[in-house]
């Protein structure tokens, strides 16, 4: 049985006129899949649509042989979902809450439920805090609780939406480790605007902006595409405008009070530019910058992303 998720020509326009998705096509195989994009790119809309929380205007989604948009209940039975911005009941402890979710996920047998819930709490390292009220949890603990509930009931499809936003580096590492340990036989979609998350974890990825898929592939192969085409230079701040006019600047970043810029060019641009070993970040910015170049007329979008 094929277990991959196929998204076909998905479009969505909200009631307020925002076009969140514009003909998105994606094929997501088993394993960790990174969905990368800036704020407002449509990531959450896509995540929620796959998670049966909302319907697109057009398009189709299939998970294996399940028609996701039609047979929502079938999807929910194999779904583990960690929303981007979720809360908890502050006065309930983790053990009770997780048991509650387990029942709702169909684990009706009390003994089994106890086993699963306790194992999960140990696995996400909340065992010692299991009797604490969720209201007192730190951001990282809350995210781990979130992943615990998402893992209930052996999901085949796991969707985690911006899980690392707002976590400190240590918590973030801990969380990503946890994600990477989850089995290889399921589809995991990790949506994020942090390039590093994808770089560290994902075997496949897509870049999405303004509701469109700009790029899809394996991170390493993608980086190879711009190897030997990426250049850097440190300039004074007032020189930036001139450089942007003359070069294809993909990212600018402050560096010791001066500005570090990356540009792409097939050949060395000279003018003090040095070659640089590209990272996924350069791919990301390149992709975004090319997409912007395509619709320069749209001033609503920021030109600097980094």
């Amino acid at each position: 049985m094929s277990n991959s998720l196929v998204i076909d020509n998905l479009s969505k326009t909200y009631g307020n006129g925002v076009r969140a998705l514009r003909g998105v096509n994606l094929t997501i195989p088993t394993g960790m899949f990174g969905l990368l994009g800036p704020n407002g790119a449509g990531k959450s809309t896509l995540m929620r649509t796959i998670s049966t929380l909302q319907d697109p205007d057009t398009g189709a989604i299939r998970l294996g042989d399940i028609d996701v948009l039609r047979d929502k209940d079938a999807v929910r039975r194999v779904l583990g979902y960690l929303p981007q911005d979720f809360g908890v009941y502050p006065n309930v402890d983790a053990l009770t809450m997780l048991s509650h979710f387990a029942t709702l996920k169909g684990i009706g047998n009390a003994k089994q439920r106890k086993q699963v819930v306790e194992a999960l709490l140990q696995r996400v390292n909340l065992w010692d805090a299991r009797k604490n009220k969720l209201g007192g949890y730190s951001g990282g603990m809350r995210q781990r609780f979130g992943i615990a509930q998402a893992l209930l009931g052996n999901p085949r499809l796991i969707i985690v939406d911006e899980p690392t936003a707002g976590l400190d580096p240590e918590e973030r590492n801990r969380f990503l480790n946890l994600l990477s340990e989850i089995g290889e036989h399921v589809v995991i979609i990790l949506s994020t605007h942090i390039v590093e998350d994808v770089a560290q974890l994902c075997t496949n990825m897509a870049i999405i902006a303004k509701g469109e898929v700009l790029h899809q592939g394996k991170p390493l192969a993608t980086i190879d595409e711009i190897r030997d085409k990426t250049w850097k230079k440190i300039i004074a701040r007032d020189q930036l405008e001139a450089h942007e006019r003359d070069h294809d600047v993909i990212s600018t970043r402050l560096f010791s009070g001066r500005t570090l810029i990356h540009v792409v060019a097939d050949a060395a641009p000279g003018d003090g530019f040095e070659p640089v070993e590209p990272g996924l970040e350069d791919v990301y910015f390149t992709t975004l910058s090319r997409s912007r170049a395509g619709d320069k007329a749209d001033p609503a979008h920021p030109t600097r992303v980094a």
């Binding site: 049966t52 929380l53 979720f86 502050p90 029942t103 699963v116 805090a129 007192g136 052996n154 340990e181």
Partner: protein, 1203 residues
Amino acid sequence: MSQLLDVLRFELAFRRRHPPLWIFTGLCFVFGFLSVGIKGGMSLFGGEGTIAINSPVALQRMMLVFCLLLGLVITTAFVAAAVNRDHEHGIQGLFFATPLRKLPYLLGRFGGSLLAAWFMISGLALGAMLASVMPWHDPERVVALSLTPYVYSLGVFLFPNLLLIGAISFSVATLTRRAMFSYVALLGLLVVYIVSGNYISDLDNDFIAAVSDPFGLRTYGYAVRYWTPAEQNTLGAPFTPEILINRAIWVGVAFAVLAGTLLRYRMTLPAGGGKPAKPDAAEPSAELAKLPVVQPSYDLRSKLAALRFQTRVEVRALVRSAPFLVIALFGIGNIVGGAFGMIERGGTTTLPVTHVMLEVIEGGMSLFMLIVLVFYAGELIHRERKYKVNELYDALPIPNWVPLVAKLAAMLAGMLVLLAVAAATTVSFQLGKGYTNLELGLYVRDILLVQLQVWVVLSVAAVVAQVIVNHKFLGYTAMVLIFVLQAALPAMDFEHNLYNFAAFPRVTYSDMNGYGHFVAGQVAFTIYWGAAAVLLMLIAELAWARGTDNPLRSRILAARARLTRGRVAAITATALVWLGAGGFIFYNTTVLNEYLPSDEVEELQVRYEQEFKQYESLPHPRITAVSIAADLYPKERRVEVRGTLHLVNKTEVPIDQLHVLSVDSQIEVAALEIPGATLHSHDEALGYRIYTLAKPMQPGEEFDVTYDFRKHLRGFGNQSNDSSIVANGSFFNSTSYMPHFGYSDQFEIADPNTRRDHDLPERLRMPKIDDAQARKNTYISSDSDWVTFAATVSTDPDQIAVAPGYLQKEWTEGGRRYFRYEMDAPILNFWSVLSAEYTVKRDEWRPSGGGDPVAIEIFYHEAHAYNVDKMIESIEDSLDYFTTAFSPYQHRQVRILEFPQYANFAQSFPNTIPYSESLGFIADGSDPEAIDYVYYVTSHEVAHQWWAHQVIGANVQGATLMSESLAQYSALAVMQQRYGPDKMPKFLKYELNRYLRSRSSETIEELPLLLVENQQYIHYNKASLVFYALAEYIGEQALNQALSDYIAEVGFQAPPYTISYDLYEHLKRATPDRFRYLLEDMFERITLYDNRALAATLVEREDGKFDVQLELQVSKLYADSKGVETPAETLDDWIEVGVYVERERDGETIDEPLYLELHRFDQRENQLTITVDERPTKAGVDPRNLLIDRAPRDNTRSVAKAP
């Protein structure tokens, strides 16, 4: 200061731009405008009869009530949010970082929002003012526009009320940072209001009740309680002590609360996130726990398990939440207050029997239940979204009905918890009172099978409203609309329960008859509304909003997608049950029974008068003999009355037409045989038949009319109101079960305003006293004088049936029990039949001077033996007194018969007194302080055997003086003989209060006692005071002799009947000349005194005696029929002056008179010195309140030592 003004200005500017300000102002305007603008809108507030719709008092009441209803919401919403707004928007830090000081910050915010709230509420005044000058009003119903009442109301009452409400909600919200808690705190204020109200009818505590009312409603009511219609129309702005004290207290509370908040408030941000969790163990363990593989199941069983689990979570969220607990506590407080109020009313005490406690629960909990169901429906349905766990839940593989049903179940659990708490409270109350017949089974049945239904249906409505509109506050609004509709439909004469949401027919429990005939209707409506509730839930399941993007279009699409064949089948089936039950109800209420909304009843009355009044003066024969055979089938609720009436043409003219009235439309006239008569016309809706006699009935001619009237009560009516024939405790009287001859004006519309609406001519409430034509009838009957009476009554074998007369024979035939009663003396044509499973207690009274004994029989429900002996004692004492003082008793028997509490009265038929189970049978006679009203009421009814059944007034003004007033006096005399004069003041105090209060809501005109037009406050309450005082002035002996002479003159007379002038002549003869003025004041005028003890100074004399120097005000006023008072021109009055000492007697403190003599007063200011032997404590003028005085308590004062 300038900072404060800045903040204030900012707050006001912020509010002004905010649409809610204008929405609420508009709302208040509409309420004010509609109340005054639409017909009958002000009758709720006393603006009816002769009290103008914009009378200052009615306006003030209206504004106070709406200020309470709207002000609570508006003020809390605005003021509580004033500081919390910053907190919620997270910009508090920005303010705190500025050099703004605490005081200006808080006071500015508070002041600004309070002013905004005041502005909004002033919309009431504006609306009312505008409406009062609209051109469509009946000019007699309005008084000239004056600004005073509006200014007074806004300044003296509404602003302080808003200040109090605002201070509390602002403080609680600001300190707890939770707006919800301020609503809870205000509920507490509401409980203070409700509890304080339980004491307003207790004359020992009414001042405290008036002063303690936080919103001033009762304070104002107390201040104007004795205002006459004229005063209510003209006086606008009282500043009485109770108003000043009350306002001062609550404004003080408001300031104290504010000051406390200012002291406690810290301008810092709250510490983050509550209690921190245990420190997190560092790294994930290298050896990860292996996840066990489980196979989730999605069958029905696991869904039900999910439902159970979810329900548990929801129930816990509800019943453990702070507001719920607080509401339950308030409910307990209110129930306790209500229980006390219910069993101690007007100086009398009732046993805390269970069905009375159940009434307390029903009345006392409903407000709290409503609040819980509306508020928590919003909380529960939006809980996931509030805590942002909705995306987690919505992605779970559970069907929509799981959370929906779980939330409803939680609501119902909350309702049950509240009712159980209430029941536990009343059970404790019963035990605390030493009452142990708890009837726990009745508690369970009543709460689960009678009370719970409406809460279930309303809970479903609240939940479904939240689901469908999918917005918390719009959901609340939807519920408020439902409540408004519930009240508005009946007010607009749409009275059928089928379309008034969650309306059930009223159910009255009776110890005698259980739930009786109310069961069928209750079951039918339970199925009807139950099916409606299920239907609503099915719709809500379709409309359940799931996921994150739910515009209307996609919700409709989703609903359509969910509409599977199974759901369609379920909806169809439920709808069929609903419609089936509705059809069954319709059949019962409108086919088997008659459904007549008020406006149609009015139309019938109009038609009756317009078509048939022309026949009013047609001569008719009189009934002289009545013989009936009544067969009761109580279990079938069926009765057949066959009767023979002997008619005599007592007029001087031949009669060729008979107009026959059968007044009860539910009665089947199976036969009506008038010899030689043919039916000329028959108006079925009115039951008006006109017969023509082939041969006119000549003067003196007589014949028998036979009839067969049947009633079979089937099914149930819209209000199940016919309770005359029931399984146990049937009670009906001659009004419905006998044809009446000739047009009777008692079915005409009486209210003058309603008559004007229908363009009916002005009508006398009663014929004038000099109307010779009207004197031909008694005020009881227009087609008979004194009749002979005999009855054969049959009933079920386990019941006893009783009619007036003596039991001649009792036998069983065909499995039924028969009783034959015959009367040996002529009676008024006013008889009753009762049948029930009675226990009988018999006794016998023997006249002290020898003579035939009188049999006493009390027919009562077995469990109601509490006061039977007391009733017998009262009958014996009454017979002793009345036979000695007035005249012999015309019968050989006195019977009291208990009937179910479907009505609450006792009524005297010849030798037969039906007596409601709620009146006296469950009275608590154990308190020696309380008025013994069982004894009193019994004596009153026995007295009617003289005053009504020996002497009966003509159908003109003053008629009830000779029945009700004299029965009232007679009972008072018996009671005084039994309990002594010390017990009388307490009783009379209530009579005075009732008289003064009721005259203030007189709708037509107040009349002097001599011309009373069946006005209860005059012929009962004023008459008690007048006759008691008269007996004190002229002596009981002299008064009784006059009454005895009067009976001798007019007892059992033939028409024309006696009028009050005849009685008055006897009274005049018995009254010494110096008291003649008093008699005139009492009977011919409306007289009020304003007597006062201005000073009472004590001087110790050398000889060991004491001088009391009194400064007394004596002032007498005459009122006209509208209550306009003018001082008496001359004063020449004999009034008691008394000096008292406080003594302990039998553990009670009583005032014993050292001096009590009549003094003559001829001027307003008087000084006199009384010498007494002992050191006195109290002194004054008319200390016993024999005279009617609007301020009876200032007649005496404590004696103070001379400085």
